[in-house]
């Protein structure tokens, strides 16, 4: 930095620190906000410019809080940023009154400083919004992946819609958790409602089946449409000895048989011959 620039910045800082209450009042007027609401921030800025808070950490902390408060009060992020920018107008009057070339030169520096602070309030707003979206996405994932009990010891996870890596992982963890909690030894993962399966998703499914096996439960994958079967073969994904069925019904029958259940319909076993009833 040149000697000139240093002198300019110093002059501007001095001007700022000389002002005390008056600058705060001017800022409050130009920003159309009560001086009380700006006071803490103003004091922190003074401290920072006086060299007590070189990285402006305290200032940023207060600004973040200020930004959040304004949002709660219903102000748009642009309005909040403009509140900060108004300090430039207030300061300019003082610089003009001083008239020294150093002060005028230093004002460019001051202006950039305030711009940064204003943009920071915008960033705080943006980050907070992103967090809300993330939280809601998670909640949505939780809600849209039900694990249902089909029968004693048999649960099913009907997967619907496009699967991405994140969602598949959530579903799979939920399935394993349910297996443990309910002590179900059989799970049916039905992908009838899934239009396409890519390598990553297929691997997640495989890993889930293996994890379930490690825990002591067996999984059957059902609802595999011809196109998906084709994709799996083309991608070279090995399903090994994992049982796959075309329909959920077949998968349920398989699981029932494996769990030792036998089903009678109308008092007869499904493959029993209908006989004449004897009096």
């Amino acid at each position: 930095m040149t000697v000139q620039a240093e002198a300019a910045i110093r002059r501007t800082k001095d001007l700022f620190l000389e002002q005390d209450g008056r600058l705060l009042d001017q800022w409050s007027e130009k920003a159309n906000i009560s001086a009380d609401e700006l006071r803490e921030l103003y004091r922190a800025l003074r401290a920072a410019l006086a060299g007590e808070d070189e990285d402006f950490t305290d200032v940023r902390g207060l600004l973040a809080e200020f930004s959040r408060t304004r949002v709660r009060q219903g102000y748009t992020p642009a309005e909040t940023a403009r509140t900060v920018f108004a300090l430039k107008d207030a300061m300019y009057e003082i610089v003009e009154a001083d008239g020294s070339p150093e002060a005028l030169r230093g004002f460019a520096w001051f202006s950039r400083l305030v711009d940064d602070l204003g943009l920071f309030t915008f960033e705080t707003f943006s980050n907070a919004r992103e967090k809300v979206i993330l939280d809601q996405t998670e909640q949505l994932l939780e809600l849209s992946t039900p694990v249902v009990k089909l029968w004693e010891g048999i649960v099913a996870v009907p997967l619907v819609g496009t699967l991405d890596s994140a969602r598949t992982q959530v579903v799979m963890e939920k399935l394993l958790q349910t297996l443990m909690e309910t002590g179900s030894q059989h799970a049916v993962i039905d992908i009838t409602g899934v239009p396409a399966v890519d390598t990553q998703v297929a691997h997640h499914l495989l890993k889930t089946v293996m994890a379930a096996r490690l825990m002591g439960a067996e999984c059957v994958i059902s609802g595999i449409r011809p196109q998906i079967a084709h994709t799996i073969v083309t991608l070279g994904i090995e399903f090994g000895d994992i049982v796959t069925k075309a329909s959920l019904a077949d998968a349920l029958a398989h699981a029932l048989r494996r769990s030792g259940a036998e089903i009678k319909v109308n008092g007869r076993w499904p493959d029993e011959e209908e006989t004449e009833s004897s009096p």
Partner: protein, 120 residues
């Protein structure tokens, strides 16, 4: 050194791992189970890991070794209560614990052991 207590339920031995075992303690458990299986003429050994939150390659191999040893002593080993996070991690780690049977809970483990004795 912590040595998990081994309980006897008829001719089935049950041990519940409640603490984070170091490698030495895992090996000691292996020895304790082998001795107990012989002494009790056990037909089954159940290892409850529902309180275990990490199974690394050493512990995994220890279970596999215990299963192999007990098989020679004519008993089956069943590992019970594996947590989902542990199962997922083991799959990713590539730890298969081949030869070790698993069950979701104690009841199923005992059913498994009963079934093994009298097939059909």
């Amino acid at each position: 050194m912590t040595r998990p207590p081994i309980l006897k339920l008829g001719d089935i031995l049950i041990v519940s791992i409640q603490t984070d075992l170091d490698d030495q303690e895992a090996l000691a458990l292996q020895d304790d189970l082998a001795e107990a299986a012989v002494a009790a003429r056990a037909r089954g050994v159940i290892i409850d890991i529902s309180a275990v939150d990490v199974v690394d390659s050493f512990i995994g191999r220890t279970f596999a070794t215990i299963a192999a040893i007990t098989r020679i002593l004519d008993a089956e080993t069943v590992v019970v209560g594996m947590r989902p996070a542990v199962a997922i991690t083991m799959v990713e780690l590539g730890l298969s614990m081949g030869g070790v049977r698993t069950a979701l809970n104690l009841t199923q483990a005992i059913e498994m052991l009963n079934h093994a004795r009298s097939p059909g």
